[in-house]
Symmetry: C2
Subunit: 98 residues, 2 copies
DNA sequence: AAGCTTGTTCGATATTTCTCGAACTAATAG
DNA sequence: CTATTAGTTCGAGAAATATCGAACAAGCTT
């Protein structure tokens, strides 16, 4: 089903990453993933509709910030922390601290 | 004329800063200011209309990224690097390196 | 004063983004 | 097989953003 694609490390673009992180809902998701590790989408909605969250995950994936392992019914999301660190050293940490 | 206002250091918001930095034109401006220090708006347009650039400077100022000293005819812009560093340590550097 | 320069503000249009319900897909549970 | 669950996709409406010409303000120059 899901043509869920993740950009390779080298394809990560700074402006796209910054834009993805500039939304409060998505920033919240990123913070939660950083704190609690892998989580399902359901665990990360803040009582927001599924379609809304799906949209935000799509943006996060397209930016290369989140990887979704969609093997099972409940997909697991994780931060692509290593890839982000490789392309934009210190960025993720600075955002998480802010 | 110009109700040019700059938010105090404590009022800087991460999402606003990230959003301001997520535009290619504004990122270019920020990079140039970081490299070359204070510059006028005119020196920073990339052959783009004045009104367009004025809009982008407004966004950068509102985010607290740029300070415009508008005393004279030709305004001077500078990065608020210290304020950014105080609020979001490492962020500016990470963005500039990326 | 008349004109030029620098930049802001306004108004209009085009594009993007956010939000959410509804229909859909796929896997699992009963 | 039917129902449920998890998440995506579609479509629509609302809000924010980007772009740019035109009008404006203020200082500098002659």
């Amino acid at each position: 089903m899901s043509r869920i694609t993740h950009p390779p490390r080298d394809a990560l673009e700074l402006t796209r990453v910054l834009h993805a992180l500039s939304d409060p809902v998505r920033l919240e998701v990123v913070r939660s993933l950083a704190e609690n590790g892998e989580q399902t989408c359901a665990a990360l909605d803040g009582d927001r509709p599924k379609s809304t969250m799906s949209h935000h995950f799509k943006v996060l994936r397209a930016a290369g910030i989140v990887e979704t392992r969609g093997e099972r019914t409940s997909h697991l999301n994780r931060l692509r922390a290593e890839d982000l660190e490789a392309r934009f050293p210190g960025l993720l940490q600075a955002v998480l601290n802010g």
